[in-house]
Symmetry: C2
Subunit: 476 residues, 2 copies
């Protein structure tokens, strides 16, 4: 490990241990260099690393300070759910989509504070460059027709996506990929390829509602597996279930899960894939946040451990490049042909211009630089959001510690009705995602999810302050 990283780690450990407290000024570069007998360059690089991780912050003319660190709190609904929910091994019918659509509509309204949004701040995207490419393509491709991009999709985009995986250590051939209308369609097609109506599908709890939507749409049943806010799905619990009941497939989001934000450890990812092999159970992996890591390296995918082609990997550009183009894809392993056929049946083809604009962007370069900027912004805003929630919300509030992505999972005092908070906040022009959209059963009635992808502003701070008051009222 390079010296600057060792030095950064030591400093981070001191902060975690409480030796250095939030708001405290830390040694200047010159002094730290003398104290620790390391070069100025080493200190500068270490401080930059800690800053990118949101652990310290620089203030102009005054030096570096320890950032407000929220306590990393385990979500009891996950950690203790085997005990709290004696019936957790029973699968349930799913119907959450109406509430989700209503929630998204609140965000569509002009002037609302978009804390309930599932999408990243579009201002962070290289929209101008993409638009230039799209405009150029539109002007030149006047005779393009649907045939240009029959499934599996536009050849150059397939190639660029495969190249990107290679850069991140996953060997993928363009032929393994099928382009879809967002990850939403990819997940739907993959699920339909491996399971049929009435089947039971294992999911995390809480889980991203797009997973529940796919299950709902296909008339399947959800089996909610206890999920640790730091390590992800409890693979042991899943194993236990598989002994007693038929599970047609398992849907997971191993990296920066929405809403919990965890990154599943590599060992757990591998364990899950081996369990799936043993039971020949397909794994549908939702990887839409994988590019938005705060750590030093791109996280691995379940696909990295897949020997039998059982992993159906789904992703999109909606969270990392543009949400307006609706371009996603599936890498369905051994189910590739079925998924391609279902794509054809579902929407025939994906529009060609957005595919070509993104392919052009990836060809021209700059994606990695853009992502670095976004990751840094999200890591910093995570700390601010955690700090202000803990400051403005009443005692008993706990927050997650996401390791990537841009959403915070907030547990309110147990007597608070998050649906009522959702309604009262909306009356004040503030949107929020209520916990109940993240489960087939109404488990998370006192949880909310907050989006921290927007540039920090007085407006956001004010919104959190107002919400804090509402939570206090509802807790009293």
């Amino acid at each position: 490990m390079p010296l600057y990283k060792q030095f950064a780690d030591q400093l981070a450990a001191s902060i975690r241990a409480g030796v250095l407290r939030p708001g405290e000024r830390i040694a200047s570069v010159r002094i730290a260099s003398q104290q620790h007998k390391v070069s100025v360059t080493t200190v500068v690089r270490a401080y930059e690393l800690l800053e990118s991780q949101g652990i310290i912050e620089s203030q102009p003319q005054s030096g570096y300070f320890v950032r407000a660190q929220a306590e990393t709190v385990a979500m009891p609904a996950a950690k203790t759910s085997r005990e709290d929910h004696p019936a957790w091994q029973e699968s349930t019918e799913v119907d959450v989509s109406r509430l989700v659509l209503a929630t998204l509509r609140t965000i569509q309204q002009d002037g609302t504070v978009p804390l309930g949004s599932p999408y990243p701040n579009p201002a962070l995207f290289p929209s101008h460059r993409l638009a230039q490419y799209a405009g150029k393509i539109a002007r030149h491709a006047s005779q393009s027709s649907v045939f240009d991009d029959l499934p599996p999709g536009h050849p150059e985009l397939l190639r660029q996506i495969a190249r990107r995986y290679l850069e991140n250590g996953l060997k993928v051939a363009p032929e393994e990929i099928v382009i879809t209308v967002g990850a939403t369609e990819a997940i739907n097609l993959c699920l339909q390829a491996v399971a049929k109506p009435g089947d039971t599908i294992a999911v995390e709890t809480p889980t991203f509602y797009a997973m529940l939507h796919a299950i709902e749409r296909l008339g399947m049943r959800a089996l909610e597996i206890p999920t640790d806010p730091e390590r992800g799905m409890d693979v042991g619990a899943l194993e236990e279930c598989l002994k007693t009941q038929a599970v047609a497939a398992c849907m997971v989001m191993p990296n920066f899960q929405n809403p919990l934000g965890f990154q599943m450890p590599d060992s757990e990812k591998e364990r899950l894939v081996r369990l799936a092999e043993q039971h020949q159970m397909p794994l549908i992996e939702n990887a839409v946040y994988s590019e938005l890591y705060y750590g030093n390296a791109h996280p691995s995918s379940l696909k990295n451990y897949d020997r039998d082609g059982l992993v159906l990997h789904c992703s999109s550009f909606s969270k990392s490049l543009t949400s307006a183009y609706r371009i996603g894809w599936a890498m369905p392993g051994r189910y590739r042909d079925q998924v391609e056929k279902l794509k054809f049946l579902n929407t025939l083809a994906t529009p060609t211009a957005p595919q070509r604009a993104i392919a052009e962007y990836l060809t021209q370069g700059g994606y990695e630089r853009h992502l670095r900027r976004v990751r840094r912004a999200f890591a910093q805003q995570r700390e601010l959001m955690r700090h202000f929630v803990l400051r403005f919300f009443p005692e008993g509030t706990r927050v997650s510690a996401p390791e990537g992505g841009y959403v915070l999972w907030v547990e309110l005092p147990p007597q608070v009705d998050a649906m009522e908070l959702y309604r009262r906040s909306l009356a004040l022009g503030i949107t929020v995602a209520p916990g109940r959209i993240f489960a087939a059963t109404n488990r998370y009635s006192h949880f909310i999810r907050l989006n921290y992808s927007y540039d920090w502003s007085r407006e956001i701070e004010q919104a959190l302050k107002l919400m804090g008051k509402l939570v206090q009222e509802l807790a009293d």
Copy 2:
């Protein structure tokens, strides 16, 4: 009726009656004016009308001639199917999509003659203007996100579609419409909204394969109702079926059905809707060709007769404006909310830029002018295609007489295997749609569908000549 139309009708009747034969020269404008005691203007307008209908043609320096008129031939598979197929009342599982995708792929290949294409010649589309709008929108809408066009879709496009229906005599409110990824998605969503896996769905036979795809994808069963090549689905036969079995929905294409080309008479449309009311059976109407009529007036839709909201009307711009943008819509009557929800579950949202580009095109005007040009071209090319098929193909070949759209249904001598013709044609660089993709059962083994939307050329003529030889070989 204006005088010139009366005059044109008389002349057309003489031609039909064989008084004037194909290839014969007809009276010059001056002589006809004297003979019939009508003005020169009246004769000119009558001749122009007959020319636009493909009944006569002008040859430079030589005057007007009667065009080669193919005999309007009833398709026996439709007319006699109640007798020919004693088991027609049994529903069947569906699996045609692989063959359809393979067929479409043959068209994708460079340099093939696209007689097998289901799409109109893109050169006829106002692609340049659309591309200009798309480019402008792309450059200015740099911050657009998926929220802009959550279901039901982009508000201005919804308004423009409703306006277009109003112009054609159908009162529609923008709120009744849900934008989709092509008519393919619209049909899928509508079918899923009204039926469940295992249900029986009544369809025309032959039917457009997109209908069969939807049934296949959702695991339903197809009940193929005898269909008259001039009047459409045999409503009496459907009525008979409804007496003895449960039919969850009925899917039809009342105007310029693909592949037969008929326009269902208004009386039959109304009869079908009344039958549906009586049984409270939803009707899924595919109207993608309705704008491409050769007659004088826009044809009515089933929706015009719908009093109970039982008609789920589906359409798109893919056949009339651009196939590359993949913009379609559903007007699902009383099932609107279910369809909107399923749209959200299936693909979340339709990409915004193509919706906005089309909305802009419709706002700026010129759609009707464009359509008139396209209709005229298709009407003329229909006659050429019919003429040359009958000229080059062996005796026993019969062709349909489409009243709109751009496809011809060709019955080959019964011993000809259309799949073998498909393969041998492809080896010569000619694509063709084999009859078996138009039915769940293999009824149309000696039928093919030909696309006549492309500008007539020596290449097309040569392709038909070569195919004629292949058919002769296969018939011997």
